[in-house]
Each structure stands twice: as C-alpha cells, then as structure tokens.
C-alpha cells in the first residue's frame, strides 16, 4: 500500500492565534474592523495581514511604507518566530491526538503521515472531518494537501490547497502544473532552473535523472527522488513534551494583580487541556512573572488536592495573588507545572447525601493559598518523653500527600513507601504510646516556649519528673505539677533544678 502524507499549512499562524486583549472580546467583529499586520522586524516588510488589511490591498511582502500608505489606521505588531513556534507546538500536540506520526515543518506547517491511521478512522474523509473539527476550535486559517510523498504533499498544499493525490500516478499528474519556485531548493538553483525556461515541475520530472544530476548537482536529484518517493523523507517525528510549560508575552503592561487573572486564565486553560489529554492531575504550579527593570518574580502554588480544572486553579491563584504586591509592571507570564499524578482513584460516595463544596484536601489548599503554607498545621505525635517533642505541630504541606488523609478516607495499605519519617513515627507511636501510658496526664494546649510563672497558683498533689536525655543538648530535670491560678485556670507548671517555675501547658 502507498504511503499517504498530509501537509497542514497555517498561513497566518501568529495573527490568528495571537493571545492578547483582542482575544478576550468577541474576535470576529473586532478583528475584522481593525486592519492588522505583522511586520518582519529585520526586513521591515509585511509578513502577515488580516482580512481587513487584505481588503485594503495590503499583501505580505510589501514594505511598511507601502502598507501605511494604503491604510492610515493600520495596526502593526512585530512578527515573533518564537511565538509562532510555540503555537505550532500547541497545534502539533492537538494533532498528535489524531495522528501518531507527525513532523513539524517550521515555521508554520505540519506533516501528518496518514496511511497507518486510515484503518482506525475508516477512511480518508472521516479522518479529515475529525481533523478539521479539531482545528476549527481555533480561529485559524489552514490549508492542506495530500500526496504519496511528504514533499509532494507540501507542493500540492501550496499549489492546489485541498487536493489529495492517493496514488503515485495521480500525484505525478497533479504536480505537472506546479511552479518551480515552490520547490524547497536553494534560491540559486531555482534561478538557474528558471533561466533555463523551466517554469513548471512537469517538464523537469520528464528529464533523465542522470543528466539532471550531472548538470545541477546531487542536491536537485536527491530532492526529486524524495519527491517521487524513491528516497525516504528526512523528517524527525514529533514527540510531545514531558513537562507543561507555557509562556505568554503581554503586549501591554499590567500593574495590578486583578488584571493578571485574565491572562492567567488563558494559561490555566491550556494547562487543563494538556492535563485532560493525558488524563493527569497536577499538584504544583509555578508562575514566573517577567517584570520591567526588575528580576523576574517566581511564585509557587501547591494544592494538596491534585487538580486539572482551570477554574479551581484560578480560584487558588486569586487568593495567592491577593497577598502579592507587584514591585514593577508585568510584561510576561510563564506557567509551568510539576508533580503530576494520575487521575483520582477514589470516588465520592453516591449515597452519602448532600456533598460539600470542597473535599478536605481542596479546603486545605484553599487555606494554604490565602494564609500561607506555614499557617495551616496539624498536630503530630512522636515517641519522646519531653512534652514539646512528643507533641508538636507541622505544616500540612510538609506531610506527604499520602499522609494527609489516612485511616478513614483512604485504604491504608495503599500508601506508597514514600520516605516520610513522620508517617512511620505516627503509626508506630500511636499504638505504643497508647498501650504503655494509657493515663498520661497531659494538657490540651502546650505553649511553644514555656512561660515564666508570674502569678500565685495552688498546686494539686501529684508530681511527674521528666528528664531530658543527655544527647538533647542541655540536660535538665523538670518536675511537672498541676496547678490552678487564682482566676481558675488549670495550668501545667514545672520546676527546674534551679527552682525556676514555668508554665508549659494549659488544661483548657
């Protein structure tokens, strides 16, 4: 069976997909009203022109002065090859969902190898319907052409958009009229061919190959052999990126954080798209803000509940950005994601009645985003005699994700061997402590640092001596007593060797 290649060409890639203020408004009406061109910044020539500009007679290749003379209110933006590369990557990622063998043809086209895919889709028309359907999501102009060899597909796309030649003979026939200038050859070689009077591809192909290579060198004959399928095409197949990372250059400066939300939403939707395609969720996002005259600002946002949805992430970012003071206007954003996981295995109980607004992990994420990660804590217990070691609190963020909701809501054995000491300690501990000292007399609240006792208290009988170990720094013995202050507060006080008294806890 023949191979079949499809060449997808996007003539106005940057112009069509350029993110910016115009895209937030309904694009159709707005963009049509405003003539807009992209300018090649080195040659100072029009590189791409939108429909409104074309109607005024502006064509790619004209000089800026020419274009401005045709339209006084012309809007001019620079052509950015890097941006176009990014957009092409995005489109490649989309097409990768439909077609496995895919090669980039920078700056603004893609090659798709269709013949292995046709059986899956049940024929070429069905595949093309899928493809155009997925591309019509974007306000994007595209042309395609198909042929048995990759290079022929390119020529057909440029020469007769929409034509698909499924056999070598059909391809040969379709290429007869193709102008020589479209060939992907060195300009000098093209000029040489034209000067010989060869304007079309048909006469060139009918010449004997040996003669051609003797006259024009090996390059032309190799090219023609590739075109006719006698040599395989030299293409590198596309591999989707491992990590999500998107940059957005703003065309304007942002000075207040609420304005950041609109471009951020755009990036988060790209993230959502990326994650949904892979059936993944992610825990952590990193936002890098490019600032004017100031080093870039890097923000990290962690959500204990893995999320893919843009709306959820936006909610968290909104809380995070509220606390942010921008040191300088923002020129660009870069969003990258790390810590992926596969989609949640657990599902909610259908019969549990009314479900809440958030899951516990989402709530923790919300609190962390607003208050700061260190402000949301959980008490932990360790096997130690010193009270401040035995019971302390730790920021929830520093617990492993597996430790956040153990017994009740998750199956305990499923926790991976994730090197977290807190967990091991927790589990060994709670059993041993409970069995060994069931009636340890401990207060509900403990002061982070013991406070000197500064009031008159009455002591209850019953003394507990706790001695710190020699390896714990200063060795001291404390005699703990229960006491009640004059205003009725129950305190846990201790006396040191030097007869100093401290309040360590409160039996609230």
């Amino acid at each position: 069976m023949n191979t079949l290649w499809l060449y997808l060409y996007f003539p106005q890639l940057q112009l069509d997909l350029q993110p910016g203020p115009a895209q937030q408004e309904p694009p159709a009406a707005d963009a049509k009203a405003q003539p807009l061109v992209l300018l090649h910044s080195q040659e100072l020539r029009v590189h791409q022109a939108n429909t409104a500009a074309r109607q005024l007679g502006i064509r790619p290749g004209q000089t800026l002065a020419h274009a401005c003379a045709l339209c006084a209110t012309l809007q001019v933006l620079p052509w950015q090859p890097e941006l176009e590369q990014q957009l092409l990557d995005m489109l490649a990622l989309d097409c990768y969902q439909l077609c496995a063998d895919l090669a980039l043809a920078p700056p603004n086209a893609l090659w798709l190898r269709l013949d292995p895919m046709l059986q899956l889709y049940g024929g070429l028309p069905l595949f093309l319907a899928q493809l155009t359907g997925s591309l019509h999501k974007y306000p994007l102009q595209f042309h395609y052409g198909g042929a048995v060899t990759a290079e022929a597909a390119r020529l057909l796309c440029l020469h007769q958009p929409g034509h698909i030649a499924q056999s070598l003979s059909a391809q040969q026939l379709a290429l007869q009229q193709c102008p020589v200038t479209l060939l992907d050859l060195a300009p000098a070689l093209l000029q040489q061919l034209q000067r010989l009077g060869m304007q079309q591809l048909g006469p060139l192909l009918s010449l004997p190959p040996a003669e051609l290579s003797r006259r024009f060198g090996a390059e032309l004959s190799r090219y023609l052999q590739q075109l006719q399928g006698r040599l395989p095409p030299l293409l590198r197949y596309y591999q989707p990126p491992e990590q999500f990372s998107v940059t957005l250059e703003l065309l304007y400066q942002l000075e207040h954080h609420p304005q950041l939300l609109a471009p951020l939403r755009h990036l988060l939707q790209r993230l959502q798209h990326y994650l949904q395609r892979r059936d993944l969720l992610c825990y952590q996002l990193q936002l890098e803000l490019t600032l004017r005259d100031t080093p870039a600002l890097c923000l990290k946002l962690h959500s204990p509940q893995a999320e893919a949805r843009a709306e959820r992430w936006l909610e968290l970012w909104q809380l995070k950005l509220e606390a942010l003071k921008l040191p300088a206007p923002v020129l660009g954003l870069r969003l990258s994601a790390s810590q992926y996981c596969s989609r949640d295995q657990s599902s909610a109980d259908l019969y549990a009645g009314k479900q809440g607004q958030y899951s516990p992990l989402q709530l923790i994420g919300l609190l962390q985003a607003k208050l700061g990660a260190e402000q949301v804590r959980r008490p932990i217990q360790l096997p130690a005699f010193l009270p401040e070691v035995a019971g302390s609190s730790i920021a929830v963020q520093r617990l492993g994700n597996a430790d956040l909701l153990p017994s009740g809501l998750q199956v305990q054995q499923s926790a991976p061997a994730y090197g977290s000491e807190a967990r091991a300690d927790n589990s060994t501990l709670s059993s041993s402590v409970q069995s060994q000292q069931p009636t340890a007399h401990r207060p509900a609240f403990l002061f982070a640092t013991p406070e000197p006792l500064q009031q008159q208290v009455r002591l209850l009988p019953g003394l507990e001596r706790i001695q710190s170990q020699w390896w714990q720094g200063h060795n001291e013995a404390r005699d703990y007593l229960t006491a009640q202050s004059a205003d009725g507060r129950w305190l846990w006080v201790y006396r040191t060797d030097q007869q100093h008294w401290f309040v360590h806890g409160v039996f609230a």
Binding site: L363, P379, Q434, V457
Partner: protein
C-alpha cells in the same frame, strides 16, 4: 425601635417560625448540661462561649468532639491561644488526621472559618476571636447551615462586648467541682439559667476535692521572679 426592626435583627422571633435545625441537637456528654440546653448543643449553628482560657472549656466540649469524630470530617482550630498537644488529643480518642490548626489575622480568621464551615468537610470549627460584627456573624451562620457544621466561638468574658445575635451564648466560670455554665442567650429558651457541670467523674485529677481543697490552700506557692 419598632417590632419589625427587632424581628429583622433576630432579637424577637415567633415560636412557630423557629427554624427546623433548631430542634436537632447533639448531646454534650454531660447530663446536667443537656438538661440546661434542652437536649444538647444546637446543630449547624454558631455557639458563643464567653470564657477565660484554661478553665475547662475544651474539656466541656470534649465528649461532643469525641462523638463527632465518627463523621470522619475535619475539626478545625482557628487561632487557638496555644498549640494543641497531640498526646492529649490521641489519648482522648481524637484522631490526629482530623485535626487542623490554622493561624491567621483577625479578618483572615473569619474568612477561614467561613470557608471551613461552607466546605462540608468539617464537622466542627473552633474559633478563638474577640471581635466580630453582626454581618460577619450572619455569614458564618449561613455557612454553618450550608456545610452542616457547628462553629464554637470562644471569646473572653469581658462584659462590655457587643452582644451578638447567636443561637446560643453561654458564659463559663471556674468552679472547684468543674465548670459553672450560665445561659446568656438561647433561642427558644430563657436566659439566666445556670448549672454546675461536674467534672469529678471524667476529670478526677482536675478538680478540688473537699479535703484537698484545704490542703491546697494551706500550701500556696508564691513565686518571686
């Protein structure tokens, strides 16, 4: 002030229009307190406790909190005056994974309390907060009803503070035998009732026995600094 205004502010209400949730109550774990409150803590409400820190207010709530652990939801402590001591919690059967300690500034604390109540994944929120206006309180009340959670608002017992339109407001006072509870305000009931909650059964090491009482007084500890 007109009657309609009073009604709007929740100071006067019709007995026939008491909300349904009023009748749901969770046992407090102390019989005398259940009698005083007509069954227990009102569910899905804001409950105000006027109390000093450390006289036994947490132990008063403890049987209720132990009961709530069965719901497998979070128990959030916002701006507690000192950090929670994990060995005490686990000895009382409160699972540590359900506990969440949050520290925040006053305004953020109210926000956090509202989010926790609304979330539907918290059984109870304990909020230590001095100042609160009526609008914020109403939001908290709505959030509590939405998320089916209880909010205990712990405030110091200064008499000058604004009285809030909460469903239940109690003031707690230290007593040698336990805790004296006075009803400051109770929806569908009369204020002014008082009751001694006896801790001698549950907390024998934190009360003054009659004989011990004198012994304790005989040997006070004066601390010079």
């Amino acid at each position: 002030m007109q009657l309609s205004e009073l009604k709007q502010q929740g100071h006067v209400w019709h007995l026939s229009q008491t909300p349904q949730a009023q009748h749901i109550s969770c046992p407090t774990g102390y019989q005398e307190l259940d009698l005083l409150l007509g069954g227990g803590w009102p569910a899905q409400q804001v409950i105000e406790l006027r109390t000093a820190f450390g006289i036994g207010e947490f132990r008063l709530l403890l049987p209720y909190l132990q009961h709530q652990t069965k719901r497998n939801k979070l128990l959030v402590h916002i701006n507690a005056p000192a950090s929670l001591h994990a060995p005490f919690l686990s000895s009382q059967g409160l699972p540590l994974w359900q506990q969440l300690e949050v520290r925040a500034k006053a305004q953020d604390a109210l926000w956090a309390a509202e989010q926790c109540l609304k979330s539907g994944c918290c059984s109870t929120v304990l909020l230590w907060q001095q100042t609160l206006n009526i609008a914020r309180l109403k939001r908290l009340q709505l959030a509590a009803a939405e998320g089916q959670a209880e909010l205990f608002l712990l405030r110091s017992a200064e008499p000058t503070q604004l009285s809030l339109p909460v469903g239940l407001s109690l003031s707690l006072h230290a007593d040698p035998q336990g805790l004296e509870v006075r009803v400051l305000k109770r929806r569908g009931g009369w204020p002014g009732a008082r009751q001694l909650v006896n801790f001698s059964q549950r907390w024998p090491r934190l009360i003054w026995q009659k004989d011990r009482h004198h012994a304790g007084q005989a040997a006070p500890v004066a601390v010079a600094l």
